[in-house]
Symmetry: C2
Subunit: 466 residues, 2 copies
C-alpha cells in the first residue's frame, strides 16, 4: 500500500471510527452472537489475490461489529473500564505509523526517552515518591498489563532473595489471580503462593495473619520473597493496609509489591492520595494501568520500582547482536531488561497524547465524574429495600445484590437485553453484582437507565416484590 | 475528545503518517541523538491544562523524529525487519478504535473468533500441518513476540513432564536468548538450560550431541522437558535439523518447540516449504512473527501448538469474576489461557487486514523480493576480494565481513553516516556483519547504495585496499 493509498484509506478508517464512536449506543452492549457465529461468516481460506480495503471496512460492519462486546459503550459496566479516548487512539496510530521497535535505547532513543518522561510525569500526577522516578535508583516502565508487571516484580523479588531454595510469596484471597499465575510461571510449587486471611467485612488483608504466616515459614526454613498488597481489589475495590503490611515486609526484608491496577490512577485527585498511604515508605514496586481508568487505550500498564537493579539482574541477558556503544556507556535505559519479551512498541506515545490533551485537570475531572456517578448509583440502590448495597470504596465500582431475586439470574437477564453489561463476584458464598463506572461517554442518564433496567428485571423475575 | 474532534485530528494524523512514510528516506536511518537529548527537549512536568492536538503533532516533528531510528527506512538493514504496512497500520487503528479487550470469548467474541480464523489462514498459507488448526486438538494464538511464545511453550512443556523435580531444556549456542530468559523466568536454575554444540560451519545443532546430553541427563535422574530447534537463527539464519532432532524428542517424550520467528513466514512461498521439514511429524509448538517479515505491524507473533491441553493446564486460573456461561459450555476458546498476561488487544485485525490487502500472491511477492535483493547483495560482496561472504540461507539476511578493515569500525562508520543501518554478530571469535533485507520500501537501488557506502567506508579506513 503506497503512502497515498494509506492517506486515502486512513481517512476512511478514521471516519469509520468516528462514526462508530458517535453511534456506539445503538449497539447492544454485550455481543448477541453464539459461539461460532463470527467464524461462520468468514471465509475458511485466505484470499489468493488481494482485495480492496473497502471490503475490509464493509466486513467490519457486517461481520465484526455484531460480534463485538462494546467496551466503549456508555452502559458497559462489567469488569473495570478499558478506556479508549481520541488522543489514546491517535497516540497508538502514531506508534503504528512510525513502526519502531524500542527493545534497546539505540533502536529508537525517542521510544525509550519519551517513556521515561511520561512515566515520570505520571508518577508526579499520582503523587508517587521521588525514588520511583527514572533519575533515581528506581524508575518506571510501560508493560502490557498489571499481570506482566506483577510477574516482573515477582521475578525481581525472587532474584533478590539470593537463593534457589524454597521461596514463598504472600497474597490474600482478594488478590488478583495474576499473582497466582506469576507464582506458577516462576516455578513456585503449589502452596508456595500463600494466601493470607482477610477481614471478613472489609476484605482487607489481615496484617496479623500475614505476620504469623511469615514467621511460620521462616521458622520452617523457607525464604519469603514478596508480599502483594492491593489498592482497589478487582472483586470489591478493597484497600489492603499497606503501611502495616509494609512494616512487616521491612522487618523481614521482603519485597512489597503494590497492585493498584485499577484504582491507582485515582490518585490524580489530590484528595484521594490517601489511598497510597505507606507506598512511599515501604513499596518496592507499584503497578497501575492507565488503560483502565485513565483514558489510555489498552495496552498501557505502568510499573515503578524503587530499585531497578534486582529487576534488571533478573531479566537481563545480552546476546552479541544487541551489544552497542550506548548500552555499554551505562548512560541509557534498555527497557528490554525491564520486561519479559524482548521487543516493544512505542507505547509512550499514547500516554503522552492523553496527558497532553486532557492535562492534569482533565484527568482529575474524568476520575471525579466516574466517582460521582458511582455515588449516584449507590444512592439509588441504597434507597431500594429490595436491594442491598455493599459498603463501597471511593472509586467507580458499586457492589450490590438483589434480596428477593437470584443475583445471577438478574444479571444474565439484563446482560442478555443488550441495554447494559455488568458482572459479578463472590464474597464467601454470597454472589454480588459489580457495576463499574468509568467510560468517558457515561452520563447520569446511563446510570439512571441501568438502575431502572435492573429494577424492572427484578420485578419481572419476582413479581411479588415491592 | 468528541467523535467529531477525533475525525478532524485523526485525518491530520493520517496525513502526518502518509507524509512520513512518503519521505522517510530524508531522515538518517539511525537516530543521531545522544543519550538524554530527547528528554532534554521535553517538559520536566506534565501540563496542568490540556493542549490542542496540533502541539503534539508539532512535537512529533520537532522532538520525536530526530530521536527515532527509522525501522521503515528502505536502508534499515539492522536486526530483522519489523515491517509496517498500510493495512497493518489500519488494522491496528481499527483495533484501537474499537477498544475491546478480548481476555475471554465473552468479552468480545469477534476478537477471539477472528483470531482463530486468521491464525488458521496463516497456517494454511505456510503449509503447516492440520493439527495446528484450531478445529483440532491444537491451535494457534497471537502473542506479542516470539519471546512470549517461547515462554508459553516452555511452561506447557514443564507442565507436561508432570514433575516438580529437576527439569532441563535444550538449546544451541545459536538459539535466541529468549529461551535462556524463558528458562530463567520459569525457575530453571543455571545449567538446566543445556547448550548443545553446533556444527562449526553450518552452525546447525548437532543431533548426536543433543542425544548424548539427553541420555546423560536422564541417567542422572533429570527430566528433559523441551528442545528448541530454530529455523533461521537470529545470528546467521542457520536451520537446525528438525527431523533428526524430532526423532530424538519423540524417543524421549520431549516437547519440541520450533522457533521460526523470522524465517517461518518465508514458507508462504511453496518452494521454501522445505525449511519446515520435520515440523508436521515432530513439532509440539511452532512460532513465527508476521511482525518481522510479513508486513504486519509489531506486535504480532503467532504460536501454534499440536495439543493445547498442557498449555491451558499450565496457564489457566479461573477467578470468579471471569466465570461465564460461554466458557463453561466448552464451546469457545478463552485466549487468556494461551498467554501470560490476562488482557489482550484485538491484534487479529491487523493480520486480517494484511492478508486481505496483499492476498497470498502479494505476500509471496514480498518475500521473494527480499530474497532476490539479498541474493543481489551477496553477489556484490562475493565479487569483492576485500570482503568475505558467509554461505547464506535462502532468506533476506546476508552475513559478510571485511578482510582488510576492522568490521566493527566499518559498521560504526556507516551506521553513524545515517545512510544505512546494519548490525553485527559473532561466530566463535569472528565478527560478521549482518545486512537484513525485508522492508517493503527497499529496492535494488538501496541495496546497491548500501554496498557502495560499505566499500567507500572500507577504503577510507584502509586506503591501501584495492
Amino acid at each position: 500500500m503506497s503512502p497515498e493509498e494509506f492517506r486515502q484509506y486512513g481517512k476512511q478508517v478514521v471516519d469509520w471510527i468516528a462514526d462508530y464512536l458517535g453511534s456506539v449506543e445503538k449497539h447492544p452492549v454485550r455481543a448477541q452472537v453464539r459461539p461460532g457465529d463470527v467464524r461462520a461468516m468468514l471465509p475458511a481460506h485466505p484470499p489468493e489475490q488481494g482485495e480492496p480495503y473497502e471490503q475490509v471496512l464493509a466486513d467490519m460492519d457486517r461481520v465484526i461489529l455484531p460480534g463485538v462486546t462494546h467496551w466503549q459503550h456508555p452502559s458497559f459496566f462489567a469488569y473495570f473500564p478499558a478506556n479508549a479516548s481520541g488522543p489514546g487512539i491517535l497516540g497508538d496510530l502514531l506508534s503504528s505509523g512510525l513502526g519502531v521497535q524500542g527493545m534497546v535505547w539505540a533502536t529508537s532513543p525517542a521510544c525509550t526517552e519519551l517513556e521515561t518522561v511520561v512515566v515520570d510525569w505520571l508518577a508526579e500526577l499520582l503523587g508517587l515518591p521521588a525514588h520511583f522516578r527514572t533519575d533515581s535508583a528506581g524508575g518506571g516502565v510501560i508493560q502490557d498489563s498489571a499481570s506482566s508487571a506483577a510477574l516482573v516484580a515477582v521475578l525481581a523479588a525472587l532474584h533478590r532473595t539470593g537463593t534457589d531454595g524454597r521461596r514463598t510469596i504472600y497474597v490474600s484471597s482478594q488478590t488478583h489471580s495474576a499473582l497466582e499465575k506469576a507464582g506458577r510461571i516462576t516455578g513456585l510449587v503449589a502452596g508456595d503462593v500463600r494466601t493470607v486471611d482477610v477481614h471478613p467485612e472489609t476484605l482487607e488483608m489481615d496484617p496479623a495473619r500475614l505476620r504469623a504466616l511469615i514467621e511460620e515459614d521462616v521458622a520452617a526454613g523457607v525464604t519469603p520473597a514478596l508480599v502483594c498488597a492491593t489498592i482497589g481489589t478487582t472483586s470489591t475495590t478493597a484497600i489492603d493496609p499497606v503501611r502495616a503490611i509494609g512494616e512487616i515486609c521491612r522487618e523481614h526484608g521482603i519485597w512489597l509489591h503494590i497492585d493498584a491496577a485499577y484504582a491507582g490512577v485515582a490518585a490524580v485527585c489530590p484528595d484521594l492520595r490517601w489511598i497510597n498511604d505507606g507506598v512511599a515508605e515501604y513499596a518496592d514496586s507499584y503497578a497501575t494501568n492507565p488503560h483502565k481508568w485513565l483514558l489510555t487505550n489498552f495496552d498501557c500498564g505502568v510499573l515503578w520500582v524503587a530499585d531497578r537493579k534486582p529487576m534488571i539482574d533478573a531479566l537481563s541477558i545480552l546476546p552479541e547482536f544487541l551489544r552497542n556503544a550506548a548500552s555499554e556507556s551505562g548512560e541509557v535505559i534498555d527497557y528490554r531488561d525491564w520486561q519479559v519479551p524482548l521487543g516493544r512498541r512505542f507505547r509512550a506515545l499514547k500516554l503522552w497524547s492523553v496527558i497532553r490533551w486532557y492535562g492534569a485537570e482533565g484527568l482529575r475531572e474524568h476520575v471525579r465524574t466516574g466517582i460521582a456517578l458511582a455515588d449516584r448509583f449507590a444512592e439509588l440502590v441504597a434507597a431500594d429495600p429490595d436491594f442491598e448495597l455493599r459498603a463501597h470504596h471511593p472509586f467507580g465500582l458499586v457492589c450490590f445484590r438483589p434480596l428477593r431475586t437470584d443475583a445471577l439470574e438478574l444479571m444474565e437477564r439484563v446482560n442478555a437485553s443488550g441495554k447494559l453489561y455488568l458482572s459479578h463476584t463472590k464474597v464467601g458464598d454470597e454472589v454480588w453484582l459489580r457495576l463499574a463506572i468509568g467510560a468517558p461517554a457515561t452520563t447520569a442518564a446511563h446510570v439512571d437507565a441501568a438502575w431502572a433496567a435492573l429494577q424492572a428485571a427484578g420485578r419481572r423475575i419476582s413479581p411479588g416484590r415491592r
